[in-house]
């Protein structure tokens, strides 16, 4: 059989007892509970099958995998028959061959015989099985009843559904249920009339389908088929790589024809995703070849001039001479750089190296500043490492799952699928979120507790949970005694035990009833293995770092650390947030989170790079912007980040950019920041370069070049060229050499190399001599810092307050089909699901303001004003409005403020006092930014 030789038909079983049996005379030993089908595949005598695939539980419907068992009557299905000791199985008798042929004959009698023109030709299990069973004729008249006239549903932008080719094996239905957990598909009708239907027989695009594509991958025929394959044909080669969207970091196989990607297939060996994906990773890669890609370097003397296309050499020479001029005129501290969490570890490492070695200062920062910087600070303080404690697999062992300020079904969909699977198995869920996210209640899952707090009161709520744990004798005394600093613990105990933190007191602050807090705390502390997963709803607050520490306190107090099923896990927003932080992107830290004042660490870098490093931390992004407005900061190199859209208080950001003399933007597209740039250096998409990403579970995975860089250079090559032009020499023949340098200089990456990644597939840091295969779960035998540290986490209300002028609270987030500032996902067909940002508002608030569903509204804060459409929903609570920041035309961040986390300056995106009122026009900022975009897009073609 040719069909995926590695598909063993039914999932692996992990029972420790093994069973010996004989299949076609071959002795084989497999774990108890394994199906005969899987055992046969392992024995090398695979059994024909159609409805079975090893990503799904056995179903037993296609009747092709029949077997004979010595001493038993009949021909049972091998997929649903578990192995037994001493079983003697035959898979190829004359009787079985005859039965299989007859079954195949029936299937083919109701199947179009258009194999040569079918999109699945060459990749069709039905075709393969017809061959495997030796089908030679179909005796049933074509005049009989059939499904051949059913019409195709092409409503989904990425795949089509052609029921005339369907064999009703239910693989799509089961993939949607078991793998994705959406339950959007069903078999409607019965008997011969059975067909696959989306929702209540709706078009796919109108149905509950979230377009993850699991059904398309599971389909053994061309019934569910990628439109890209229909239009381009089957791929000719494959390259393993890693998704460049969210921090889950799914492993993918890029299937390619020549220099064109035909399909992205989630990698069954991918340890973060185990063969699953979401709509973004699997389908939304069209941006890589979108016509908006800028493929030639460009420069201009002022931002009011049109761009001039120039050669790479000219662009780099121009940028270097400008930076040199600024340094000469205004000093070394007048320039800096921003690394990107979307770029590879290697590129990020080079960026901060360029700033530290070629610019000669520590003015390097990264977009993690505006998302997870409090995670790094908080977890390092508590445990000693700036990272989540678990691998994703750990969720399958959790009994209680607490999701705090995260919306995994939209922002981390593949992890959400694994989380929901665990919930369906019986784990219980606690959600802390102002908004009723899908996890609170959706088919087959329901949160035990939804603590629907007011935005900005996280710390008060977490302290109240801890208060219950501390005062109701729910503390894991042994764990705390053995693993944590006792003095700090006693101080903390006295603090949280105080009546100020009692849920009855905090209810007035958080809006969460005391009884719900008490019940949730009891469940978390005594419900078995309890895991916390959190997102930017934790970090993007004035007390972001405090909240991270408060969660660390709760986990330590209840002993929920250091083993599978527990832990504290940040869900990282972008693909390489963890890696960008690991690589020393922050102004105060060298790679591996060593402070720049650490002379030993600095000496190692000084020796490797041949330069002296500044011992004082450099400027953070907000400091750079403030300094620009003051006139002391004049030049910046920004790689793969769009601060003019993503950072808070847009007008402040753009004023600072406009005040600079040299802004170098390296990106795939002319983004919002490029409106203020003097040099534009074309970036390369993840498909065009080699490197590594480090995902939210500290997993370092390879990114491999699938197609050549469209602009001729990979991003790392550009940084090398710029550094050389600035006079600091860099020489690398391949990104693997950059990783070798990272490994030499970074203790947690010491054991990482491209060869090791090749061998292991991926590695979770710390990876060193002590853990050459990486570390899935951290702090197993003790905390990295020694004793776990309880911190006092007093609730301090944000200065951002509602009042008569701005009576509502705005909080922001993302939705499934779009990603971050949308630079990538807006340039794909994902816009059919979300073509504009909308403002969610509660019916009560809408009615008070005379706002109708779908009407245009003005959204104004102390910072600025924008206009967008309103969507009336009780998903948000009264007094709270919500929007996404995916579209530059909306510019949600023109409204957000400069309030930020006390420790890390992570912006307080999640709390802005606003007013909403009906309007019939765009805001002045929107009109102006539209004209800026027109100006930005003016390019003079070089005369030839």
């Amino acid at each position: 059989m040719r069909t995926n030789p590695r598909d063993q038909g039914t999932p692996a079983r992990s029972e420790s007892t093994t069973v010996m049996l004989e299949i076609d005379g071959i002795p084989i030993s497999v774990p108890a509970g394994t199906s005969v089908m899987r055992a046969a595949a392992i024995a090398g005598t695979p059994i024909p099958k159609l409805c079975a695939t090893d990503s799904l539980e056995a179903f037993g419907s296609c009747r092709l995998c029949l077997i004979e068992i010595a001493g038993r009557r009949g021909t049972p299905a091998s997929c649903t028959t578990p192995v037994e000791t001493g079983m003697q199985v035959r898979t190829r008798t004359q009787r079985l061959q005859r039965l299989r042929r007859a079954v195949m004959e029936l299937y083919i009698s109701d199947h179009p015989l258009d194999c040569l023109t079918c999109a699945a030709n060459g990749d069709c299990e039905l075709q393969d099985m017809a061959g495997a069973v030796g089908l030679r004729e179909v005796r049933y008249a074509s005049s009989g009843a059939s499904h051949l006239d059913l019409s195709t549903d092409a409503s989904n932008p990425y795949f089509s559904f052609d029921p005339s080719k369907c064999i009703v094996c239910s693989r799509c239905v089961r993939a949607c249920e078991e793998q994705q957990g959406t339950f959007a598909l069903t078999i409607q009708g019965r008997g011969f009339a059975s067909t696959v239907a989306a929702s209540a027989n709706e078009r796919f695009i109108d149905s509950e389908c979230v377009s993850c594509g699991a059904c398309v991958q599971a389909c053994p025929t061309a019934t569910l088929m990628e439109k890209s394959v229909i239009s381009m044909g089957q791929p000719a080669r494959e390259v393993k790589t890693t998704c460049a969207y969210c921090g889950v970091g799914c492993g993918f196989v890029a299937e390619i024809q020549g220099d064109q990607v035909v399909r992205m297939r989630p990698d069954r060996d991918g340890k973060a995703n185990h063969g699953h994906s979401c709509v973004k990773g699997r389908f939304a890669w069209g941006y890589a070849t979108h016509r908006d890609r800028v493929l030639e370097p460009m420069i201009r003397d002022s931002i009011s001039e049109p761009w001039r296309k120039v050669s790479w050499d000219a662009a780099i020479a121009h940028a270097a001479s400008e930076f040199r001029r600024i340094i000469t005129e205004h000093g070394r501290g007048a320039v800096g750089g921003i690394t990107s969490s979307r770029c590879t570890n290697e590129e990020t490492f080079l960026m901060q190296k360029l700033v530290r070695a070629a610019f000669g200062n520590n003015n390097t920062d990264t977009c993690a500043r505006v998302c997870h910087s409090p995670t790094g600070y908080g977890l390092k303080t508590a445990f000693g490492t700036s990272a989540g404690t678990q691998d994703f697999d750990s969720v399958a062992a959790a009994d209680v799952i607490m999701v705090v300020g995260a919306n995994p079904t939209d922002a981390h969909p593949v992890f959400a699928s694994r989380l929901r699977r665990r919930l369906r198995e019986g784990a219980r869920l606690i959600v802390l979120d102002p908004r009723r996210i899908d996890l609170v209640r959706s088919p087959h899952i329901e949160a035990a507790h939804h603590l629907r707090l007011r935005p900005g009161t996280n710390v008060a709520l977490m302290n109240a949970l801890a208060h219950v744990v501390a005062t109701e004798e729910l503390i894991d005394v042994d764990f705390v005694r053995e693993r944590c600093d006792q003095t700090e613990f006693q101080r903390w105990l006295a603090f949280v035990g105080h009546a100020d933190n009692a849920p009855e007191t905090t209810a007035a602050i958080t809006g969460v009833p005391a009884s719900a807090v008490r019940a949730a705390a009891r469940l978390y502390a005594s419900g078995g293995r309890a895991a916390i997963y959190y997102g930017l709803g934790v970090t993007e607050h004035s007390q972001g770092t405090t909240m991270v520490m408060a969660m660390a306190n709760l986990a330590m107090a209840t002993g929920n650390l250091g083993r599978p099923g527990v832990g504290i896990n940040p869900l990282r927003g972008q693909n390489n947030v963890q890696g960008a932080c690991d690589m020393g992107s922050f102004p105060h830290e060298l790679s591996g989170y060593r402070h720049v004042s650490d002379s030993t660490a600095r000496a190692a870098f000084a020796e490797a790079w041949g330069v002296e490093l500044e011992p004082e931390p450099g400027l953070r992004i907000p400091n750079m912007l403030d300094a620009a407005l003051e006139g002391s900061f004049r030049g910046i190199y920004i790689q793969g980040e769009d601060i003019a859209q993503s950072d808070p208080n847009t007008q402040h950001v753009t004023a600072a950019l406009a005040a600079m003399e040299c802004v170098v933007v390296q990106d795939l597209f002319l983004n919002e920041t490029a409106s203020y740039a003097h040099v534009f250096l074309p970036g390369a998409s993840f498909l065009e370069k080699d490197g590594t990403f480090t995902n939210a579970e500290r997993r370092i995975s390879r990114v491999r070049r699938a197609i050549p860089p469209l602009a001729g250079m990979a991003d790392w090559e550009v940084t090398v060229a710029l550094s050389n032009a600035l006079g600091h020499s860099m020489h690398y023949a391949h990104p693997s050499e950059i990783m070798d340098e990272i490994a030499r200089l970074t203790p947690s990456y010491r054991g990482v190399s491209y060869a090791a990644l090749e061998e292991h597939g991926s590695l979770q840091w710390p990876c060193d001599e002590a853990a050459p295969s990486g570390t899935p779960v951290m702090h197993a035998d003790g905390f990295v810092r020694g004793k776990g540290r309880f911190m006092i986490t007093r609730y301090v209300p944000t200065e951002e307050r509602t009042g008569p002028r701005f009576p509502l609270l705005l909080t922001t987030g993302r939705i499934l089909s779009q990603y971050n500032v949308g630079a990538q996902s807006r340039r794909t067909d994902n816009v059919v699901w979300h073509e504009e940002d909308v403002l969610e508002i509660h019916p009560h608030d809408a009615e008070n303001r005379g706002i109708r569903d779908g009407a245009m509204v003005s959204l104004a804060s102390r910072s600025g004003e924008t206009a967008l459409r309103a969507h009336i929903t009780d998903r948000v609570q009264p007094g709270v409005v919500y929007t996404t920041f995916h579209h530059p035309e909306t510019g949600a961040n023109v409204v957000t403020t400069e309030h930020s986390d006390w420790a890390t300056n992570c912006p307080e995106y999640k709390v802005t006092a606003v007013e909403v009122r009906p309007t019939n026009r765009w805001s002045r900022w929107q009109v102006e930014s539209e004209s800026r975009r027109r100006q930005r897009d003016q390019i003079i073609e070089p005369s030839t």
Binding site: F183, L185, I187, Q188, G189, S199, E202, P443, H444
Partner: protein
């Protein structure tokens, strides 16, 4: 004519007693079944009984109340012939075509009813396979009532 009510099957109210679609009422029925395992089928049956059929508008309401997907509700709804998605004819006849009834003329009776033009919008005739009343065939469920030892005249009489 011996008439026996079938206790295990929901009673089919006649069309005159069927309610107009009422979302609140559907929600109330669905909620009543929502805390039971497998509550979807009895909820569908009750709605079918009360309204004469399960209106498409009931599907999302049931899905929401029972925390299931619309697809799951639709899958069950479309599987059972007894669950209708359109208002029923004035009379429904489920005529048994099981072996015992066939042996006493049920096949012929079905053909006769169809020939007589009874199977129109006023009367909906569908075969079923065994009503468990084999000693007294041919049997049918006429508007939900089990009727035995049936012939054409009796059936017409039954319907008028």
């Amino acid at each position: 004519m011996p008439v026996v009510r079938a206790p295990s099957l929901p009673r089919m109210a006649s069309p005159s007693t069927h309610l107009e679609f009422d979302a609140e009422r559907v929600r109330e029925i669905a909620r009543r079944w929502s805390d039971r395992d497998g509550g979807l089928l009895p909820a569908l049956l009750e709605i079918n009984d009360r309204f004469g059929h399960v209106d498409a508008r009931a599907v999302p309401i049931l899905a929401e109340a029972l925390n299931r997907s619309r697809a799951e509700v639709h899958g069950v709804l479309s599987f059972y012939h007894d669950l209708r998605t359109e208002p029923p004819a004035r009379h429904t006849v489920a005529l048994c075509q099981g072996e015992a009834c066939q042996a006493v003329g049920a096949t012929r009776l079905l053909a006769e009813i169809r020939q007589a033009g009874l199977d129109d919008h006023d009367v909906q005739v569908a075969p079923v396979y065994c009503l468990g009343n084999c000693a007294l065939g041919p049997c049918a469920l006429v508007d939900g009532e089990l009727v035995a030892r049936l012939d054409r005249t009796q059936l017409i009489g039954c319907l008028s």
